[in-house]
């Protein structure tokens, strides 16, 4: 597959601070890539570099095989949607949509056609004559997407487009973006700090930290086989439970947890001969309870210290091997603080990271 966007050895330094370090990324034609990370990880910076709004210190960026590292943003064949919508307040919706086209002196007829099409796709025809101030947040963001749409470009860049919306609108618009992608099949690069958006939208997710990509992979891969402790911790809510322990390789690999051996024969090792201090991680949703716990390969009994009912499920806080842990119960279970609960898990679903480098074992 020819890559749509290719980033090679990209570096960006502000004085002595490096924001992007030697970054490489290949994004396929029609792919939906999400750049995920907490604030300050460099994800927006990377997007701005792709857009041409920031100039990298070194490295190059190719879009559709063209080296666009130093090209003007408008010459890169991209459209961009911003968190704050960035609609031109004094122009009508129509003006906002057509502004970019007028700048390249496109014939009026063509402009009208494209605006009409975008308005149709996004269902904003009734809003065309309004000013942004008269629109709701969701409508504004739709117009902002439309502004990228009319440009008829191959690559769409989204910079946290849903962060300013309330939870419900966010979910609606998320679906809409997904539909749009299915319909248009352009390359989309989407920056967010919201893992739900990332998981639901992405073909692939790039998790970033400190200017480097920690892991690049499908949502499934990222969730199930995080490459390092940072990714494991970052993805999933509530986040993964970690225990400090030691991986030993006797007859079969095992760790000791709360004085009990946890056999790791079923665990899919990446590094077959690693032994030593590790983080042993298990997601709250992979901790089994009740009857399922009874048949789990590894079983414990813990005390419910804090109970958080959430309707569909109950989150329980407890302690195991001197470590605070969380796990989930079905929303219908009856549990009170102080209750003793049986839990268990399948070591095959665990994630183990060496302590020194925090990489997957």
């Amino acid at each position: 597959m020819q890559s749509s966007v290719s980033i090679q050895n990209l570096k960006l330094d502000y004085g002595t601070v490096s924001v992007l370090r030697d970054l490489n990324l290949e994004i396929g034609q029609g792919e939906f890539l999400v750049l995920l990370g907490s604030s300050g990880c460099g994800k927006s910076t990377l997007l701005n570099c792709i857009a041409g709004l920031l100039e990298p210190s070194d490295g190059s960026i190719y879009i559709n095989g063209q080296n666009v590292t130093w090209a003007e943003p408008s010459r890169r064949g991209i459209g961009m949607v911003f968190q704050s919508y960035a609609l031109y307040p004094q122009m009508t919706v129509e003006g906002n949509l057509s502004f970019g086209l007028k700048n390249i002196r496109m014939p009026k007829e063509e402009i009208r056609r494209r605006v009409a099409r975008a308005a149709d796709v996004l269902q904003i025809e009734p809003l065309l004559k309004r000013k942004p101030a008269a629109l709701s947040g969701g409508q504004r963001q739709r117009v902002a997407i439309g502004r990228a749409l009319v440009r008829d470009v191959d690559v769409f860049l989204f910079d946290e487009p849903l962060s300013n919306l309330d939870a419900k609108l966010r979910a609606d618009l998320r679906v809409e973006i997904k539909r749009l992608h299915q319909k248009l099949r352009n390359t989309m690069i989407y920056v967010t700090h919201d893992q739900v958006e990332a998981m639901t939208l992405a073909d692939r997710i790039a998790i970033m930290k400190g200017g480097v990509v920690m892991q690049l992979g499908s949502p499934n891969e990222i969730y199930n086989r995080p490459a390092n402790k940072y990714v494991a911790d970052f993805i999933g809510s509530p986040s993964m439970n970690f225990f400090e322990t030691t991986l030993s390789r006797g007859a079969e690999p095992k760790v000791v947890l709360a004085g009990r051996d946890v056999p790791l024969a079923t665990y899919g090792f990446v590094r077959k001969d690693f032994a030593g201090a590790v983080w042993f991680g298990i997601r709250p949703e992979h901790i089994l309870t009740g009857e399922a716990a009874a048949s789990a390969p590894v079983r414990f009994e813990v005390c419910a210290e804090l109970v958080e009912p959430m309707g569909s499920e109950i989150l329980v806080w407890s302690t195991l091997a001197d470590t605070s842990i969380r796990f989930r119960l079905d929303g219908q279970e009856k549990v009170a603080t102080g209750d003793m609960l049986r839990i268990g898990f399948d070591p095959a679903r665990a994630s183990i990271f060496d302590k020194a480098e925090e990489l997957r074992v």
Binding site: A51, G52, S74, M80, S84, A86, Y88, Q90, I104
Partner: protein
């Protein structure tokens, strides 16, 4: 619009202290209005003196006190100040300078604001190398007493051949208005979301397009502030107007100076005051008309980070 919203919401705090309805003559109100009225008297006293004096005849001024209302109201001083008082050889009052003042003020205000707004825009949005050094120099420039610059500017204008020309004076006003105006515009444009600028760049808009199509229409409130400040400053300017132009272009303030500042001869205070008020009418009316816009404009971003 945003301002009124803020105001009404904000104002609610003032009355939010207790559930009971407040009487008009509450202690709080008496204090607030009392202080305001006393202070208002301080601000009004001088203009009262000016107006009252300008409506008196000279004999009345010589005997009476300056605060007494005129026994016999006469508009003769106003007529004289406008059309017949001698400013040197020419006895046609302030009227001769009025047009000149307009001719100086309008282009000076226009150019100084045009240049300063572009400066502020370039400084806040395009951040080229050395922008902060440049801006710091400009701010220091705001502190240089004009008198110090008179001589070098003469030499400078002479070298570029604009000395004595109206355009030279416009240039001088543009230069000296630049520090404060650039500060205003820079602050204002800094408060414009950066994403808007980025969006425009993605939309293919360059330096000029972004300025004219996006920033200019958004910056109207701050333009109002700049116009008010500059009109006042340039209209009231005497020093530059007298030094960098020829007599045929002398602004009204030169005539005002000639009327008010004459060293010898009989002082006609009523005419002086009328002339003073007349010369101040343009900036005064601008403030009266657009005072509201002024505050709103400043609130719209002139004072933000």
């Amino acid at each position: 619009m945003a301002d009124t919203v803020i105001r009404t919401q904000h104002a609610s705090h003032a009355h939010a202290a207790g559930p009971r309805p407040r009487p008009i003559f509450s202690r709080r109100n008496i204090i607030i209005y009392g202080v305001l009225i006393v202070l208002a008297l301080y601000y009004l006293l001088p203009i009262y003196v000016m107006v009252v004096t300008s409506l008196k005849g000279m004999p009345e001024i010589r005997v009476g006190n300056i605060f007494a209302p005129p026994v016999e109201i006469t508009f003769a001083p106003w007529v004289k100040a406008w059309s017949s008082v001698c400013t040197g050889l020419n006895c046609d009052g302030l009227s001769r300078g009025f047009l000149n003042s307009l001719k100086i003020t309008v282009p000076s205000v226009f150019f100084s604001i045009a240049v300063a707004s572009v400066n502020g825009y370039a400084l806040s949005m395009w951040r080229f190398k050395g922008a902060n050094v440049l801006f710091t120099i400009l701010i220091i420039g705001a502190f240089i007493p004009y008198q110090v610059m008179i001589y070098p500017i003469v030499v400078l204008l002479r070298e570029i051949g604009l000395y004595g020309e109206l355009s030279g004076l416009v240039l001088v006003h543009t230069v000296f208005g630049m520090p404060i105006l650039t500060l205003l515009f820079r602050n204002y444009f800094s408060s414009v979301p950066e994403e808007l600028f980025k969006a425009a760049r993605v939309d293919g808009a360059g330096f000029r397009t972004i300025y004219f199509k996006i920033m200019l229409p958004m910056a109207l409130p701050i333009f109002v502030v700049a116009v008010i400040l500059q009109t006042t400053a340039i209209w009231n300017d005497f020093l530059f107007g007298a030094i960098y132009t020829r007599p045929e272009n002398y602004p009204m303030t030169v005539q005002l100076n000639n009327i008010v500042n004459s060293v010898t001869g009989v002082k006609e205070y009523n005419v002086n005051m009328a002339a003073t008020l007349l010369s101040g009418i343009v900036p005064l009316s601008i403030y009266l008309i657009s005072g509201k816009l002024f505050v709103r404009g400043i609130a719209a971003g002139a004072v933000k980070g």
